[in-house]
């Protein structure tokens, strides 16, 4: 009620005309904010396309980096490296994340479930470089050398909380009547959860998984001291491996103009993938059950 008293006070103190002017002005300010907030994305995209599109060619995807000073070259090793890292990360992040999501959707509000949910969000917010030094401490230091495996594990650990939350959300959308129908048919509990509930929510869960993949595909910091980067072609998970974001970083901070162009191209490729997945995910979850989710 104190708030409404404030309203009453402000209503009586100023004149009506001035108040309406202020109101209109503030509304205008919020419109301005809207414009300003949407600008950065458009500006960045514009620059990426302007500076990077010209360097994108088949060679970009299929050629290895050339020694500095030479024309051409591509990021084939980085692209393949990113794919391998995503593979390792998904092998860890997806099963654990989906399993945890199943648990949370079923146990709902038990103290353990609430703790797990809380910690998943906390884990989500950890700096990615902290993940990197953790993976280094556990998988690089004892072994003695950098590896794609360590990078994949760092990324996989980052995937777990992401996949857990989206899986839980998608599972909760499935109506309980479906679960009951399955139980009434004589399905054991595990079968109900997997063959009916999980299966019904699968499209949404896959979408959430893709979004998580898109997010970690762009991460650089966790890879700095795990996968390290590799200027040669390598597909072994026991060796350092190149990755697209790492390569972009290396080229961007390099002195040579040629490499800058490749960095822009790499960034354009990276962001295209991320944007396409984000847009697809948004559209998919919007028309899920016929109504907008927002």
């Amino acid at each position: 009620m104190a708030r409404l008293e404030r309203v009453e006070r402000s209503v009586s103190v100023k004149t009506a005309g001035r108040r309406h002017f202020v109101s209109g002005a503030m509304i205008g300010v919020t419109y301005l904010c809207a414009v300003l907030a949407t600008l950065p994305l458009l500006i960045i995209l514009w620059h990426l396309i302007a500076k990077g599109a010209s360097s994108i060619s088949l060679a970009f995807f299929t050629h290895m980096p050339r020694p500095v000073g030479e024309q051409g070259g591509g990021m084939a090793n980085a692209i393949v490296g990113t794919l391998i890292l995503i593979g390792v990360a998904s092998a860890i992040g997806l099963p654990v994340g989906i399993g945890a999501g199943l648990y949370l959707a079923e146990k709902k509000t038990t103290p353990l479930a609430q703790t797990v949910r809380f910690l998943a969000d906390v884990l989500n917010g950890l700096p990615s470089i902290v993940m990197g030094i953790f993976a280094w401490q556990v998988l690089v230091r004892p072994i003695g050398h950098f590896s794609a495996l360590a990078g994949g594990v760092a990324l996989g650990a980052m995937m777990i909380p992401l996949v857990t939350r989206t899986t839980e959300e998608m599972l909760l959308v499935v109506p309980t009547s479906l679960r009951e129908a399955a139980l009434a048919l004589g399905y054991p509990k595990w079968r109900t959860s997997i063959s009916v509930v999980l299966r019904t929510a699968l499209a949404g869960i896959v979408t959430g998984a893709l979004v998580a993949v898109a997010r970690i595909a762009g991460e650089t910091a966790p890879l700095l001291f795990t996968a390290l980067g590799n200027q040669f072609w390598s597909t072994s998970i026991r060796e350092p491996i190149a990755a697209l974001p790492l390569q972009i970083f290396t080229y961007a901070t390099n002195a040579y103009e040629e490499l800058h162009k490749l960095a822009w191209a790499g960034a354009l490729v990276l962001i295209s993938i991320v944007l396409v997945i984000s847009l697809a995910a948004r559209l998919a979850t919007r028309s899920r059950f016929g109504a907008p989710v927002d």
């Binding site: 009547s177 009951e180 129908a181 009434a184 048919l185 004589g186 009916v196 299966r199 019904t200």
Partner: protein
């Protein structure tokens, strides 16, 4: 001036007969009505500390349609769900007392809810086809639980057809068996759920307000098929619609606040109810 009690000293005129249309009942001797299918003994069902069903003892005959009626919240759905051990799937729910189906106690030591549910089919208020499966897969969904006895694909197809025929849906969907079940209308989906429940050839089918969300035409189709099913299955139907109970059932039980007030043949319950509470309910004094 009349005292309030004097106003009702005379019994009010009977408004019973015009309210419901009764079906001409078949003579009792032509049915095996004597053998009970479901027998509940002092059955109570609890949600936490609250009792939704209190000490109900009832004997439901075989191969007949038995309706359970009563006002909202009287426990009729809960009672129904005790018959296939679905009540206990709710957290903090428990059952006291016993239920026997065809002579076997379903709550006895070591009995498994899964086995019970395999032989007792259930259809819910809202149609619940599995959205990611085709019509054929939906109907066969209950079969998958017991892979041993329905192994071959051919046998499955036969069973699917038989179930859809019994549910009165075969003619409408026989050419689109592999399409998604969600493409069907509400009434068709509900009949699909009935087919799904029938596919395992249960001896008992429990229907929990099956036509509550259907349009009148679909409701009529479902009622007709329920009436036909009694030749081969025991049907227990919960309904808040008294006219439906009168149209479809052979025997009707009236539940009020968790207690079984009266159970009699439909004709008797609706024309000459013994308990005043039953009479009040069916004449619409409360609902």
């Amino acid at each position: 001036m009349l005292q309030s009690t004097e106003v009702f000293r005379e019994k009010p005129p009977r408004l019973v007969t015009p309210v419901v249309q009764l079906r001409a009942s078949e003579p009792i001797a032509s049915r095996e009505a004597t053998k009970p299918c479901i027998v509940a003994n002092y059955l109570s069902a609890f949600f936490g500390k609250t009792a939704a069903v209190k000490d109900v003892s009832i004997s439901i005959p075989q191969n007949a349609v038995t309706a359970i009626i009563g006002p909202s919240g009287c426990g009729k759905s809960t009672l129904l769900r005790c018959f296939n051990r679905m009540h206990e799937t709710v957290p903090d729910a428990r059952v006291e007392g016993d239920v026997e189906i065809l002579g076997s106690s379903i709550y006895g030591d070591g009995s498994s809810p899964i086995a019970v549910r395999r032989h007792v089919g259930m259809v819910f208020q809202r149609p619940t086809p599995f959205p990611t499966m085709s019509i054929r897969a939906n109907v066969a969904a209950g079969l998958r639980v017991d892979a041993k006895s329905h192994a071959t694909r051919g046998a499955t197809s036969e069973i699917v057809e038989e179930a859809l025929q019994r549910a009165g849906l075969w003619a409408e969907v026989k050419d689109q068996l592999d399409e998604s079940a969600m493409a069907l209308s509400g009434g068709q989906q509900q009949r699909l759920c009935i087919a799904r429940a029938l596919a395992t050839r249960p001896r008992v089918i429990l229907l929990d307000e099956p036509t509550a969300s259907l349009d009148p035409l679909s409701t009529q189709k479902v009622e007709e098929l329920v009436y036909d099913l009694r030749k081969t299955v025991t049907v227990v139907i919960v309904t808040h619609n008294m006219q439906q109970a009168a149209r479809v059932s052979d025997g009707t039980a009236f539940l009020l606040m968790g207690e079984l007030v009266e159970f009699a043949s439909t004709r008797q319950l609706f024309t000459a109810p013994r308990d005043p509470r039953t009479e009040s309910y069916i004449t619409g004094r409360f609902g």
